[in-house]
């Protein structure tokens, strides 16, 4: 009896220990600490309910995100099975072998058409136009604008604006109007300012902000296939775009020399500026009366057209990749199969995530779900991104060093800045053997 009891106990213990290992696999997704990561955790809880696979979204503050991710990659660590990495990491992470090649997965699931084309191009494909894919577009994001509807719709303001500029005060249709409106509302004596834009040069804030002007004025950062920069980055169109951004800086609140997403939302919540640039991912806080006392009078619009009708916006957001060193790659593929399903993408959008799924984006249901979804939908079909090459950080540093003194300090001319930056970038590309 005594021996039987121990045998029974040992058997029960063996079953108890082995059962979870066999049925409940665990997956870890690494992302930065922000609301979309919380929404993703909510979404993956539903995956656990369906499959028994426990998925944890592990987060770290944005400032540490890149350092922590690449330290883990370099150590070939298996702590993370998947990562929702920045689009500009595609080059360094894929060339270094940190990401699993998803080209076959893309073909099997026809993802190039299932997801919005621009998101596939910038969140997934590297090198440009190579047909090789490394990530599934996960959190679509781009830069858009919020504005004070009550200021715009005030009859006295409308009349004054019409008298001064000769056309109706409304959501700007192009960058010329954006500048006019910023100038019109710029009244330092009333502690009211025209516009809030990105100026933070610590990482990609300023450059992302400038891209909105540069791209919409018809400029580009270079040819992503040939790495030609001269004549493109310093073209007349790019110069005009940079000049426009500099003009906008003149209508920002005082102390706007190192501002990013936090300050730009504050510009609206504190009633400081008429219009404010920001990633769509930060707009939920602006429609929430608990975080924005002006929530009911805050409107949204997509980045306006340039003088020649070009309309683009700087891409934010991330794709989800499988880490090469993961010991659960097969299970990760299963998760991605679930993640790209239309119903999952709809649910992702309902929870607050910004889907890149074309059909979901185009649905009336999605476009009317929030005051900013329509602008987001329009934007996700006209996004452009920074270089995704492994040396993108060096290119970014040079861009910050050249552009910042011009935008904030008014040093030099736009042409001088872009000519110098062209030389810097060519030197970097030469150093890495991309051009001769």
């Amino acid at each position: 009896m005594h021996r039987s009891f121990y045998k029974l106990l040992a058997g029960a213990a063996a079953i108890a220990l082995s059962a979870p290992a066999a049925s409940s696999q665990e997956l870890t997704i690494f992302w930065a600490e922000w609301d979309p990561a919380n929404y993703l955790q909510e979404l993956v809880n539903e995956y656990e309910a369906e499959t028994g696979v426990v998925v944890t979204v592990e987060t770290t503050p944005w400032q540490d995100f890149q350092t922590k991710a690449f330290t883990e990659f370099n150590a070939k660590g298996s702590a993370y099975d998947m990562i929702v990495g920045d689009s500009q990491w595609l080059g360094s992470a894929s060339e270094a072998g940190h990401y699993v090649d998803l080209t076959e997965f893309f073909a099997t699931h026809n993802l190039t058409t299932v997801m919005a084309p621009a998101t596939v191009k910038y969140y997934a494909e590297y090198p440009g136009n190579s047909g090789k894919y490394w990530a599934v577009p996960a959190e679509g994001d781009a830069v858009g604008w919020s504005y004070r509807k009550d200021w715009f719709e005030d009859p006295a303001e409308m009349a004054a604006f019409k008298e001064k500029y000769g056309y109706d005060l409304a959501v700007p249709q192009d960058w010329a109007q954006l500048i006019d409106i910023a100038e019109f509302f710029h009244r330092p004596d009333e502690n009211r300012y025209g516009i809030a834009i990105y100026t933070d040069n610590s990482y990609d804030g300023l450059v992302m902000g400038v891209e909105n002007a540069l791209f919409s004025y018809g400029g580009n950062l270079g040819d992503y296939e040939t790495y030609q920069v001269d004549g493109i980055l310093n073209s007349e169109a790019s110069i005009a775009g940079l000049e426009a951004y500099r003009k906008l800086y003149g209508f920002t609140p005082p102390g706007w020399s190192k501002t990013f997403f936090v300050e730009n939302n504050q510009a609206i919540t504190e009633g400081l500026a008429a219009m404010s640039m920001n990633y769509f991912a930060f707009f939920p806080a602006l429609v929430n009366p608990a975080t924005n006392p002006n929530a009911d009078v805050t409107g949204f619009f997509a980045n306006p057209k340039g003088p020649n009708g070009d309309q683009f916006a700087a891409l934010g957001g991330q794709g989800i990749s499988i880490v090469s060193y993961s010991e659960n790659q097969e299970e990760s593929f299963k998760f991605l199969e679930w993640f790209i399903k239309e119903e999952t993408q709809k649910r992702w959008a309902e929870l607050g995530g910004y889907t890149a799924h074309a059909a979901t984006l185009e649905s009336e249901e999605f476009r009317n779900a929030t005051p900013y979804n329509e602008a987001f939908y329009q934007t996700m079909f006209m996004v452009k991104d920074f270089w995704a090459v492994p040396e993108y950080a060096e290119l970014l540093t040079a861009a910050n060093e050249r552009i910042y003194p011009y935008i904030v300090g008014g040093e030099g001319t736009a042409k001088e800045v872009l000519d110098a930056l062209t030389a810097d970038w060519e030197e970097t590309f030469r150093k890495y053997g991309r051009i001769q």
Binding site: N74, A96, N191, G255, K258, P390, V408
Partner: protein
């Protein structure tokens, strides 16, 4: 019992106590040495080896031996020289400011004043704060809209941190505010050690305050003041936290900030290791010059 213990040989006595002196010494020394080797010596040697390669920590690619190429590239890069110039300017402003303010405060506190202890403690508070917090705190103080500094100085909407000429001074002011108490503390120790009879003799000889200060106080405090200058110079060269938070301009990009960007944003690991060694050599050279003066001051 004590008598019995003294009659035993040392080893037996140690055994009776549980641990010998040698064991206790080893218990403390071996972990310390192991810690130093693992966390100081090994990284130092490893980073020196890395400085001669094109290693990038963001890739799995094999690193190649490039000899002195990293050093050559860095030393011929005008941007790096610009970073060094900015840092040298910052160190001079910051350390000079700290010496004047810190020594001045020490002179004031070296006389009988009410609530001396409380005042000294309050003055020490800045250096007890986290540099990152100090950076954020001063960012608010400098704010052109609601910052208290512009309000008191009547500067309107002056942008301290956005002005390319003023930004470096603004960062240095924060360092002066934070570390003057350190100089004050050391100076106070030096001042209190000056023999009182020297002042009494000077008074009898009718020496003026100027003469007393330059012939008695300063020479006697100089060695300890020099130690404060050495520490602060080394620290100022490495300034990162508050400068990174406050810095917006290329004109405030100190070498530590550039090094951080090179190593952790651009992932130029080999190059940044070489850069770190160049900085180390510069700091060691400057410190040696100071130490030479310190020895001279002590000899006097």
């Amino acid at each position: 019992m004590a008598d019995v213990m003294t009659r035993l040989d040392p080893d037996t006595r140690a055994a009776a106590r549980g641990l010998s002196d040698l064991s206790i010494r080893n218990l403390f020394i071996i972990p310390t040495i192991a810690f130093l080797i693992i966390f100081n010596v090994f990284p130092l040697i490893y980073s020196l080896a890395t400085a001669f390669t094109d290693y990038r920590a963001s890739t799995s690619a094999e690193s190649n031996w490039v000899g002195l190429a990293n050093f050559r590239e860095l030393l011929s890069d005008p941007n790096i020289w610009r970073n060094f110039t900015i840092t040298a300017k910052y160190v001079i402003i910051s350390v000079t400011g700290q010496v004047f303010v810190g020594f001045g405060l020490a002179m004031l506190l070296n006389r009988p004043i009410p609530l001396k202890g409380l005042i000294t403690t309050l003055l020490l508070l800045p250096m007890m704060m986290s540099p990152a917090v100090v950076g954020l705190f001063w960012k608010l103080l400098y704010d052109p809209s609601f910052g208290i500094i512009n309000y008191f100085l009547g500067l309107g909407k002056f942008e301290w941190l956005a002005d390319p000429q003023m930004a470096l001074y603004a960062v240095a002011i924060v360092d002066i505010w934070m570390w003057s108490p350190f100089v004050m503390l050391l100076s106070l120790a030096g001042l209190s050690a000056v023999p009182k009879h020297l002042y009494e003799a000077a008074e009898i000889d009718r020496a003026g305050p100027f003469y007393t200060f330059f012939r008695i106080t300063l020479p006697l405090v100089a060695p300890i003041l020099m130690i404060a200058i050495i520490f602060r110079t080394m620290e100022a060269f490495k300034t990162f936290d508050h400068a990174y938070i406050l810095s917006t301009q290329p004109t405030t990009e100190l070498i530590a900030i550039r090094l951080y960007k090179m190593a952790f944003l651009e992932w130029q690991t080999g190059m940044s290791s070489a850069f770190a060694y160049i900085v180390l050599i510069v700091v060691v050279a400057i410190t040696n010059i100071y130490v030479k003066y310190l020895n001279k001051a002590k000899a006097r």
